[in-house]
């Protein structure tokens, strides 16, 4: 599972959020929230259910607009490409973005073509993610954990510098978690950045981790 294009990311790349404020009805999810994450760093978002973790991740992804404040990747929006044409960001939410009618292979091939991942390497990736046996099965018949693995394989294929993962461990067995951790460690070691919403502990190896506590502490 070698990284698609050799070499690390530029050292100056930095994800920053400044003064983010969002209200949902009468509830203030976050008020003047700021954070930053450097290349090779992981930002862990923690907090009780309903404290706005997913919403924050969607704000970073540009899917939800914050009422105030802004999220920047080295001064530019996170939706975009870097100089080499690589996507800056990939988002993996609760929904797996797999079409139940298509096979695992067909689903991943679509995203590979969108992100420029070599089609020939999808087979290798399926083996690494433990999905080799399901390659030609429609994702409708896959278990929740297998779908999660396929969604994570898509994240890997994107080759993006910034990974936004919303509870990536959901439904995964221990082998699946190892796959996720190995993937994340490799990503961070290659100067990638990850923002992860996680309830359980996650082993990110030697990468520096910043914890962003939502809810009571915010």
């Amino acid at each position: 599972m070698a990284r698609r294009r050799g070499g690390g990311f530029r050292e100056v790349d930095l994800l920053t959020g400044t003064g983010l404020t969002l209200w949902r009805g009468a509830n203030c999810l976050f008020d003047a929230l700021s954070f930053s994450a450097a290349p090779g760093n992981a930002l862990l978002i923690r907090g009780p259910n309903g404290s706005g973790k997913t919403t924050l991740l969607r704000v970073i992804a540009g899917l939800t607009l914050a009422e105030e404040g802004e999220v920047k990747w080295n001064g530019t929006p996170v939706i975009g490409c870097d100089n080499s044409g690589r996507h800056l960001m990939t988002y993996c939410g609760h929904a797996t973005a797999l079409k139940p009618e298509l096979t695992t292979m067909e689903n991943l091939r679509f995203f590979a073509r969108l992100s420029g991942y070599p089609i020939r390497q999808i087979g290798e990736l399926l083996v690494a993610s433990g999905l080799a046996a399901c390659a030609d099965l429609p994702t409708r018949v896959l278990s929740a954990g297998q779908k999660r693995r396929a969604a994570l394989a898509r994240v890997f294929m994107s080759g993006a510098q910034l990974w936004l993962l919303d509870e990536p461990q959901t439904n995964l067995d221990s082998a699946g978690r190892q796959f996720l951790e190995r993937m994340l460690q490799e990503h961070l070691a290659g100067s990638g950045t990850a923002v992860i919403v996680a309830h359980q502990s996650i082993d990110l190896g030697a990468a520096p981790v910043t914890v962003l506590q939502m809810g009571e502490a915010a």
Partner: protein, 226 residues
């Protein structure tokens, strides 16, 4: 960018067609509805040839419009539910182009079958051959316009649970000019006159919808997916 814009269009179109092929019932619904509505009129009304002939343009066009409305609900719904839309929204590509590809795929599986069976049904209405040609042409220009206009409404209501009636109320009025021009063109051809006027106007509407609907639907889908 990794992917040329033409390639992006093709990749999205291809995938949507593949998904549609695996979901046969969704493809068949609008065209079966169209055939049923058109076939029921002669049974309930006076089946004399000259009467049916006068009725044909209106009946065929109304049925085509209703079939289009019926199918619009599904345009973006599945993508929003399974998370595909989040992925498409976070791509560094113009969303309008993605929407256009999805709308074209939708028209190919729901609109085109209606256009194809319409001449057969027109024969049962005793429509003369030249009027059938104009009917076919008007549907060929008109139904993509209906799909494009509908994509705006479908994008606005994609996040709602019960969007069927709301969607029809919203885009129905927008579709009326297409209905009037399409039925009028066929009617004019039936009476032996030159139908180019309404056909040109239909073409103008298609060009307008083609350029304005995808960006509008793209903005709407951003709001719906929030």
């Amino acid at each position: 960018m990794n992917l040329g814009l033409g390639n992006l269009f093709w990749v999205v179109l291809q995938r949507d067609l593949l998904v549609a092929m695996r979901r046969w019932s969704d493809i068949c619904n609008p065209v079966i509805f169209f055939v049923l509505v058109v076939a029921l009129f002669p049974l309930a009304l006076n089946p004399r040839a000259e009467f049916l002939r006068a009725l044909a343009p209106g009946v065929l066009w109304i049925a085509a419009l209703l079939a289009a409305l019926l199918s619009l609900n599904q345009l973006f719904r599945a993508d929003i539910e399974d998370g595909t839309m989040e992925q498409l929204l976070t791509l560094p590509y113009p969303l309008g182009l993605v929407i256009l590809a999805k709308t074209l795929a939708h028209w190919l599986v729901t609109g085109l079958p209606v256009v194809v069976v319409a001449p057969l049904l027109a024969i049962t209405y005793h429509l003369p051959a030249d009027a059938i040609g104009i009917l076919l042409l008007s549907l060929l220009i008109g139904t993509p316009t209906l799909s494009l206009l509908g994509s705006i409404g479908a994008a606005l209501t994609a996040g709602l649970r019960q969007s069927g009636v709301l969607l029809a109320l919203m885009v129905g009025p927008l579709m009326l000019p297409v209905l009037m021009l399409g039925a009028r063109a066929t009617d004019i051809a039936l009476s032996g006159d030159d139908p180019t006027g309404p056909l040109y106007l239909l073409g103008a509407l298609l060009a307008l919808a083609l350029s304005l609907a995808p960006p509008a639907a793209a903005m709407a889908i951003r709001i719906s997916a929030d």
